[in-house]
């Protein structure tokens, strides 16, 4: 509370200063794509005459710039678009809306060394990666399915959880420590088909940013990262249909204006047809099986006037897996958001969001006496208010609040009369996660920008229900029943956020940041891979909020006329209240699941190097991370630090995209990483007639290192007036490297009197694919 009070005092003082400032006028407006009407996020607005003045468009394409009255030339720039200049004679507040035309990268590029106020060197924001959708679409992929979750793992500091797994680890954190937002709605399980593909259809996506460190105060709720995915608004000028037919899945997108230049809609859908191949197989147990997924993204927006707009987004996805007459399982996310944006005056931008998100799964068994149906779900309802206020042009104040309600049904089993199983119901759990934040981005002079703020996060666990406390042996030490709406436990955590950048000159800067993050919703899963049956619990009488403190510092540079960008970031993270599981933990449909947990701490540190070439025929990047992440639990490894499973010492990727001609583009990615930490046996013995392995230290070994090369090529179709098509070819794992998925130990098949180690791989061959894309 002390921190909040002092920040509030600063805020009042600044407002007072602003009131006495020289006569200023405000220029505001939105920047859009000239061809589709999509609002552009992160477009830069600078003044030719005042090099120190500039701003960037926010998530809705809105910008606001306060300048002393006078004559100016405004420059509007955005990566991938032609710069637009606009003269303005500023004597009162002006509204200037601009459309930028996409730039053909083969055209003569004259890049000015303008100081884009949003670029990597100048902005105080560090620990963030923004993905360019064009590049995502050019990077070669598995089976022709573009996947933003796979592409972000090509960035330093972000590690893939392995093949067949869309989980990812950011700066040593667990895979549940990432908040994945689709237009503001949390997506709990971002994977299809058990992790081979993600739930994001890149046709429907406009912008992807991931914050790894120095998280701005408007984001919170998870320790390691926020992956903010924004859907396309829809073309507000023309009606278009676009899509693609691939080897295992096809997509189609329809978009168009609701009212030309004022409102638009977009609907994008995707489905696999692997199951159609299965139907062709004569074996009755296979052709009666089902395995498919589909997802639908839809969005509509309407701009009432320059000051008011409404956006509605929705997502629905489902995975189905089943074996005829034996079992069936399905799981899926659904999410929806309604947002109202309103501009108060010319400088206070408000965004009010109502968000709904649901994740559920179901497993059903049809075997005669074993019939049962198990279900689980988590439903979130969220009200968010975000405000952005520009004062005197060197302060951007952001403040707001967030109230999120969780409704978790941890597990239910319903059975038939004759079934061997009993009905079982694990009590539903309810709670509120609340937050209020305030931050200021302050341009404190020509060289220094400081972003400081605080996020006050709260957690309220509510009844009805019976809540037990467990000791470290797993025995219940108390059991109390609460009525509906009673607060069972509350937690309050202030999270200070601070980052600063010091520009040495136009091309070089140093940055530093400190942030604290807390997490009140935890994924319980003792499996080493992500499964759809993972269980979510809130902080409780037994589980304390997880806390992470991260400091980072870095050096940022651009050169060759802003064609190249280089950064080196070093971070150190302290983790508290981390969760692990007792041996033999039974997590599924267990009312007393909290008795199966142990708690400890962790630390993670590393250095990330990144070099990117942005313009020209050849573009791409190289990323490299050297890092370590460790955990310490009293009950494990005798309380000594041990490497976390996701600790991978070296992790690097090289991505290259080469535009050979107007029609041909080639791309390639190469990844290399040393292995995850694993526990291997250090001896063996025999119990119960079976060879059993003995272990000493946890995670004392490393998997073999992995490496892989993927290549791709896109052939753009000939120019047609009303219609465009392209062919994309890709080869995944070009030199058929056997990336080890897991290593297990067993009695030798050839000599049962000896034991052997066995390496299992998923994709040990090269996998080619072809996709045909079209657009009307």
């Amino acid at each position: 509370m002390q921190m909040a009070r002092s920040i509030f005092t600063i805020f009042i003082t600044l407002t007072a200063i602003a009131a006495y400032a020289q006569k200023k006028a405000t220029i505001n407006g939105t920047v859009k794509d000239a061809a589709t009407g999509e609002s552009l996020i992160g477009a830069s607005i600078t003044l030719q005459e005042l090099s120190a003045v500039g701003t960037a468009t926010n998530n809705y394409g809105f910008y606001s710039l306060a300048v002393t009255e006078g004559e100016y030339t405004l420059l509007f720039t955005c990566v991938g678009y032609k710069t637009v200049t606009q003269k303005v004679s500023l004597h009162k507040n002006e509204v200037i809306n601009i459309s930028l035309s996409p730039k053909n990268s083969l055209q003569e590029v004259v890049v000015r060394s303008t100081r884009f106020s949003n670029d990597n060197v100048v902005s105080p924001q560090m620990g963030v990666e923004k993905l360019n959708m064009t590049q995502i679409n050019q990077v070669p992929v598995l089976l022709g399915e573009r996947d933003i979750l796979k592409t972000i793992t090509l960035m330093p500091g972000i590690k893939s959880a392995g093949e067949g797994n869309t989980g990812f680890y950011v700066r040593g954190g667990g895979s549940d420590q990432n908040l994945i937002l689709l237009d503001g709605a949390p997506i709990y399980n971002a994977s299809h088909l058990l992790g081979f593909f993600s739930t994001f259809n890149s046709d429907a996506i406009k912008d992807v940013s991931i914050y790894k460190g120095g998280m701005p105060a408007e984001y919170g709720g998870r320790l390691s990262s926020v992956l903010d995915v924004k859907m396309n608004d829809g073309n507000d000028k023309d009606f278009t249909v676009q899509g693609g037919i691939g080897l295992i899945a096809s997509r189609i997108k329809v978009e168009g204006p609701i009212v030309k230049d004022k409102g638009s809609f977009m609907v994008s859908a995707r489905r696999t047809y692997i199951d159609l191949f299965l139907k062709a197989i004569p074996d009755s147990s296979i052709n009666g099986s089902s395995i498919y997924f589909y997802d639908i993204n839809a969005k509509a927006n309407y701009q009432f006037d320059d000051k008011n707009a409404i956006y509605i987004s929705g997502y629905l996805g489902k995975d189905v897996l089943g074996l005829k007459n034996v079992f069936g399982t399905n799981w899926g996310n659904s999410a929806g958001t309604i947002r109202f944006t309103h501009l108060f005056g010319s400088r206070l931008f408000s965004n009010t969001s109502l968000i709904y998100s649901n994740y559920n799964y179901m497993v059903e068994s049809f075997q005669n006496n074993d019939g049962f149906k198990a279900t689980s779900k988590i439903t979130d309802a969220n009200l968010k208010e975000d405000l952005q206020y520009s004062i005197a042009n060197n302060h951007i104040i952001k403040f707001g609040f967030n109230i999120l309600h969780h409704d978790i049904a941890p597990g239910d089993i319903t059975t038939t009369q004759k079934s061997a199983y009993n009905n079982k119901h694990v009590e539903q759990r309810y709670g509120y996660e609340t937050a209020a934040y305030l931050s200021d981005e302050w341009k404190a002079g020509d060289h220094l920008t400081i972003l400081y703020g605080v996020r006050l996060s709260g957690m309220f666990l509510l009844g009805p229900g019976t809540f037990k406390t467990f000791n470290s042996d797993g025995a219940a030490t108390s059991s109390i029943t609460y009525g509906s709406g009673t607060v069972v436990r509350r937690y309050f955590n202030p999270e200070p956020r601070f980052s600063a950048s010091y520009t040495i000159n136009d091309d070089n800067s140093l940055k530093a940041s400190y942030s604290r993050n807390t997490q009140n919703i935890h994924l319980l899963s003792n499996s080493t891979s992500s499964t759809p049956v993972d269980l979510y619990v809130m902080s409780s009488k037994n589980i304390k909020p997880e806390i992470a403190d991260q400091v980072s510092t870095g050096y940022f540079k651009k050169f060759d006329d802003n064609n190249y960008e280089f950064s080196a970031e070093v971070y150190y993270k302290w983790l508290q209240n981390q969760i692990d599981y007792k041996d033999g933990a039974q997590l599924l449909v267990n009312q007393d699941v909290e008795s199966q947990l142990t708690y400890g701490t962790g630390r993670a540190y590393g250095i990330e190097l990144f070099l990117k070439k942005k313009y020209g025929r050849f573009t791409g990047w190289i990323g490299y991370t050297l890092s370590r992440t460790e955990r310490r639990f009293d009950a494990i490894n005798n309380g000594a630090y041990y490497p976390a499973r996701q600790d991978r010492t070296h992790d690097g990727s090289v991505v290259g995209i080469y535009q050979l001609s107007k029609r041909w583009t080639f791309s390639g990615t190469f990844i290399y990483g040393t292995g995850n930490a694993v526990t291997y046996p250090t001896g063996k013995y025999n119990v119960g007639g079976l060879t059993t392995f003995s272990y000493s230290k946890r995670n004392n070994y490393r998997m073999p290192s992995s490496n892989r090369l993927d290549i791709g090529a896109t052939l753009e179709g000939k120019e047609h007036k009303r219609y465009h098509s392209s062919w994309t070819f890709s080869v995944y794992n070009v030199y058929a490297h056997r990336d080890p998925y897991s290593i297990s130990f067993r009695d030798s098949k050839t000599d049962p009197n000896m034991t052997e180690a066995v390496e299992t791989s998923i994709f040990a061959t090269l996998i080619p694919s072809v996709t045909w894309d079209f657009k009307f």
Binding site: D583, G584, L588, V589, G683, V687, L690, E759
Partner: protein, 265 residues
């Protein structure tokens, strides 16, 4: 939802993927010569056996050096002391003894002055009603069979079970542990699903059903969880928690046992 059954459902995927298996060489540190105690007390009158040996390095053959010259004693809550004699190196036996349900048995082992203690309570016997073979739905081979056991779980009592499966005299290298968390009071059918030995018509299949106490169930269940490989399942391996103090490999189990043999049709 029963964890083993869930993993069973994803067995087809696991099988498809484990087709890409390769035997490799791994350099492992050697932490051997650790004591292993394997003690079993059953309710069937006859020789009861407690084995003492040590673990060996991964690269050794699967023969475990016996620990000789130890004093091995078991006592129950009635004050009876059963002294085990070393009948062959590392194997300590007592010729005619039977445990009884409800008996609280304490094992006391002394080796060169160091003592090890363990305790186990023998639960009530739950009858193995039937063992049957069915077509294995998860196999594309129509001739393959799976084994299903039938028993009636007593209502209101916490029960834990451990099963051993033998095909033509060879033990199937899998652990089958089960409790009544989801099946209390019901007529239970439990599939002994495994991919170790293929079973066909004409095979002689023997099933041993044990009623075990909670600590021993956790021991076998942990080993079973660690045995799942592939994309689904697989927990971080560790030495399973047992009832022996000070911390030692192995277990001491007082359990009821019942055996049924069938010929697969």
């Amino acid at each position: 939802m029963k964890t083993p059954l869930f993993y069973l459902m994803l067995l087809p995927l696991m099988l498809v993927i484990s087709a890409c298996d390769k035997v490799i060489d791994v350099q492992l540190v050697n932490d051997s010569d650790k004591l292993v105690i394997e003690g079993n007390i059953t309710n069937v009158s006859g020789t009861q056996t407690i084995k003492l040996n040590t673990n060996v390095a991964f690269t050794n053959t699967n023969t475990y050096p016996p620990v000789t010259g130890a004093q091995v004693k078991v006592n129950d809550q009635y004050g009876n002391v059963y002294t085990f004699q070393e009948s062959s190196p590392g194997i300590y036996t007592i010729p005619t003894m039977a445990g009884i349900s409800g008996g609280v048995y304490k094992l006391h082992v002394t080796i060169k002055g160091k003592t090890y203690d363990a305790g186990s309570t023998m639960p009530a016997q739950v009858a193995l009603d039937n063992v049957r073979a069915f077509k294995d739905n998860f196999s594309t081979d129509d001739n393959k069979r799976k084994i299903t056991v039938y028993y009636h779980d007593p209502k209101g009592v916490v029960n834990q079970y451990n099963f051993l499966l033998y095909v033509n005299g060879v033990q199937v290298k899998r652990v089958f542990a089960n409790n009544d968390d989801f099946t209390d009071g019901n007529k239970v059918t439990f599939d002994l699903a495994q991919d170790d030995i293929s079973i066909y018509a004409g095979d002689k299949v023997t099933v041993e059903m044990q009623s075990v106490d909670k600590t021993i169930y956790t021991y076998w269940f942990t080993l079973m969880q660690q045995g799942y490989k592939g994309p689904i399942g697989g927990v971080t391996p560790s030495n399973p928690p047992n009832n022996i103090t000070p911390e030692t490999l192995g277990y001491f189990s007082a359990h009821t046992t019942q055996i049924k043999t069938i010929t697969v049709n």
